[in-house]
């Protein structure tokens, strides 16, 4: 029996090896595979293969909900792709498993030198303990409030610039009898990440940690959380306490709510459902301080895996994907912020008000970036499993906003201190 198995294994491995001549083949895993993105990559791969006839790219689209597990299994099993799409939200996790190639030297010695947005490079570098660049950033994202411009015009409501104005507008746009609400709260999965962006935009606190202690529990942040909890059920649907992003987007595109806090990632969905005549994006409003503080969204990029047998060809592909032409094409299609600064002047950006607005915010020297500590291995569990249920308690009036933020801050402070120790 043993012999039979060995023989079988030999035959099978003989079948799978072979074919060493001819073009080099590299595999590319798309971390957000699906009908929206796959055709864009197929087109880019076609262009790349035409320009580099000796390199073939095998595309594999991984569903975004399972991509982390897929990477983990591949790393544990020693079967990683050559190039993979990654975002900074789980980049630290991959770097921690020693799965990725640092890209600093390759970037510095190639045509991409000085071409990628410094802010995005910084967010990628921050995720690694050694401060190296483990992914080439390809696109940035920004939290925005999508709003029904048609309803605002109809009821002659000015587009809010501050959170207080937003709360007023939400109340005016709410008509529970017609099942119409001014705003929707993300109370379910992913709530705390969005809430932090809202809190910092209101408080104007410009650092996530001050002297090693988390600033999340700042009373000004609590003020905003109380404000949001205050409009729950008054200007929002009652079901919001369990809302994840799909339900929020469905409520907004279905016409039930007039304003939704999400990010540029939902551009295609809202535009397809409502059209540019009915919907626009505004940055998160400001608070009493009048300062514009932004908690950046995870940055998308491309990583080269250490297990790659063809690191040079792999980097070539990454370089191609982040070149001005490809990067512009990709971001135009998905409606996000291009990392390559040469794309700035492209015509499509002028025609896409949401991206133009987002670029304006990011390039405004007055804007202050407050990056969340996504490099902490515990960050995801702290902001999801540990504290999402607590935020639901705040919404339901069972816990005070300050108490909730105190607990969250304590956990973030401990995690940061442990991380500093390991460093």
């Amino acid at each position: 029996m043993k012999r039979l198995l060995v023989a079988l294994a030999l035959v099978l491995s003989a079948c799978s090896a072979g074919g060493q001549d001819g073009p080099t083949t590299i595999t590319f895993w798309d971390n957000n595979g699906g009908p929206g993105r796959t055709p864009i990559y197929e087109e880019l791969i076609k262009r790349f293969e035409a320009a580099n006839p000796n390199i073939k790219v095998e595309y594999v689209g991984i569903p975004s909900s399972s991509v982390q597990q897929k990477y983990d299994t591949a790393i544990a099993g020693g079967s990683t792709p050559d190039v993979g799409g990654v975002t900074t939200s789980y980049l630290a996790h991959l770097v921690g498993q020693d799965a990725l190639e640092p890209l600093d030297e390759r970037l510095e010695s190639g045509p991409l030198k000085g071409k990628l947005l410094p802010g995005l490079l910084e967010t990628v570098r921050q995720t690694a303990m050694d401060g190296k660049l483990y992914a080439a950033p390809a696109s940035g994202n920004l939290d925005v409030i999508w709003y029904r411009s048609d309803l605002f015009a109809e009821q002659k409501i000015a587009v809010p610039d501050t959170w207080d104005q937003l709360v007023d507008a939400a109340a005016k746009l709410t008509k529970p009898a017609d099942n119409k609400y001014g705003f929707t709260i993300r109370g379910g999965a992913g709530s705390v990440f969005q809430l932090l962006a809202e809190a910092y935009s209101y408080s104007g606190v410009d650092k996530f940690y001050d002297g090693g202690k988390s600033t999340v529990s700042d009373p000004r942040n609590a003020e905003l959380v109380s404000k949001i909890a205050g409009i729950y059920k008054k200007s929002t649907p009652e079901a919001d306490v369990n809302n994840n992003y799909t339900q929020m987007v469905a409520q907004f595109t279905g016409g039930t709510v007039a304003m939704m806090h999400h990010n540029l990632g939902s551009t295609a969905d809202v535009m397809k459902a409502l059209g540019a005549q009915k919907v626009s994006a505004m940055p998160l409003p400001k608070g009493p301080s009048g300062k514009r503080t932004v908690v950046p969204n995870p940055t998308d990029g491309f990583a080269v895996f250490k297990g790659s047998k063809n690191p040079d060809a792999s980097w070539k592909f990454v370089e191609f994907l982040t070149s001005a032409e490809s990067n512009g094409y990709w971001n135009e299609k998905v409606g996000q912020i291009p990392a390559n600064t040469d794309v700035r002047g492209a015509e499509w950006i002028q025609k896409n008000p949401a991206v133009k607005m987002a670029l304006g915010v990011l390039e405004d020297p007055a804007t202050m970036l407050v990056p969340a500590p996504v490099y902490l291995p515990e960050y995801s569990s702290i902001t999801k499993t540990d504290t999402e249920p607590l935020y639901q308690k705040v919404l339901l009036g069972q816990m005070s906003a300050q108490q909730f933020l105190d607990e969250l801050a304590a956990k973030l402070t401990t995690a940061q201190q442990e991380w500093e120790k390991r460093k």
Binding site: A9, W29, T38, P63, S64, S65, S66, S79, G265
Partner: protein
């Protein structure tokens, strides 16, 4: 004492009214006891199907309660843009392959468990049951490494083997129960008439096991058809993915295409519904059929 009392009472009490026999069928409480709960339960099970059908056939952005005007654009998306054609074919091959292997091994093992006594039989049965407590996700990485070493990654055969390994224990337990219910006297009678054990099995026992084969086979089919985790983890090539993986393509990082999700759900549910439509006849038959009278 009690007798006297009752005797005294009987003449005074009026004769009990004859029960209205014909009205028994129109008993209103029957509606509340029987039909109402059934109707509610039926609604409870059917509403998700209704939801799926409405979203699948309704244009994106519409909020009507009926899919009118009807559209097939979501089916076009899943079939042509997501590539459900190939995923469907892969799923079907894996599910049928698993059905065959699981059923064959379950009959062989189930027969052995039911008809023979051997050392460690109880421990073996217990071990089979215990395997059911281990979630597939826990075995993922060890299995992945083994499959990689024997070259079974990226192959439908590998997925059939993995699915079979996880479906077989329950199938074995089920099948041994079914075999035990077929009276051993039937086989003995055949063997008295000159059959070998094997021939007695094929001629007498196997035909009696038809409902069991259908039940075990359909469970194996559906288990393999629905398996998302193995299909995604053991395949890293676009052309080896299956329907559940294709379905999850409709759930993007920032957006969910509910129309495509629902249309994909319809496509994925059709074979399962068909399997049950054909099979339920056998399943019911299996409950009532008896081999020995009296």
């Amino acid at each position: 004492m009690t007798q006297t009392l009752s005797r005294q009472e009987t003449p005074v009490s009026p004769p009990p009214p004859a029960p209205p026999r014909r009205k028994k069928h129109r008993d209103p409480s029957r509606f509340f006891r029987l039909y109402l709960p059934l109707v509610l339960y039926l609604l409870f099970t059917l509403i998700p199907f209704y939801w799926m059908l409405v979203f699948a056939f309704r244009p994106a952005g519409e909020t009507t309660l009926l899919p009118w005007p009807i559209t097939f654009e979501h089916f076009d998306t899943v079939w042509n843009d997501i590539g459900f054609g190939l995923f469907f074919q892969n799923s079907l091959l894996i599910a049928l392959g698993t059905l065959v292997t699981v059923t064959v091994f379950a009959v062989m093992g189930g027969y052995a468990l039911a008809r023979f006594k051997f050392r460690g039989q109880r421990v073996f049965l217990l071990a089979l049951l215990c395997t059911q407590f281990i979630p597939g996700a826990m075995m993922l990485i060890p299995l992945f490494v083994i499959f990689k070493n024997v070259g079974l990654l990226n192959s439908l055969t590998g997925l059939i083997i993995a699915d079979t390994a996880f479906q077989l224990p329950l199938a074995l337990i089920l099948m041994s129960g079914f075999v035990r219910n077929v009276p051993v006297e039937l086989e003995e009678a055949a063997m008295v008439d000159g059959c070998s054990r094997l021939r007695a099995f094929f001629a007498v026992t196997l035909p009696q096991l038809r409902p069991a084969l259908v039940a075990v086979g359909s469970f194996a089919f559906i288990g393999a058809w629905n398996n998302f985790l193995f299909a995604l983890m053991f395949a890293s090539r676009q052309d080896k993915f299956t329907l559940p993986v294709g379905l999850s393509y409709a759930l993007g990082e920032f957006n969910t295409d509910f129309g495509a999700l629902a249309a994909g759900g319809v496509v994925a549910a059709v074979p399962v519904v068909l399997v049950f439509a054909v099979v339920q006849r056998f399943l019911v038959q299996g409950l009532s059929a008896g081999a020995v009278k009296g």
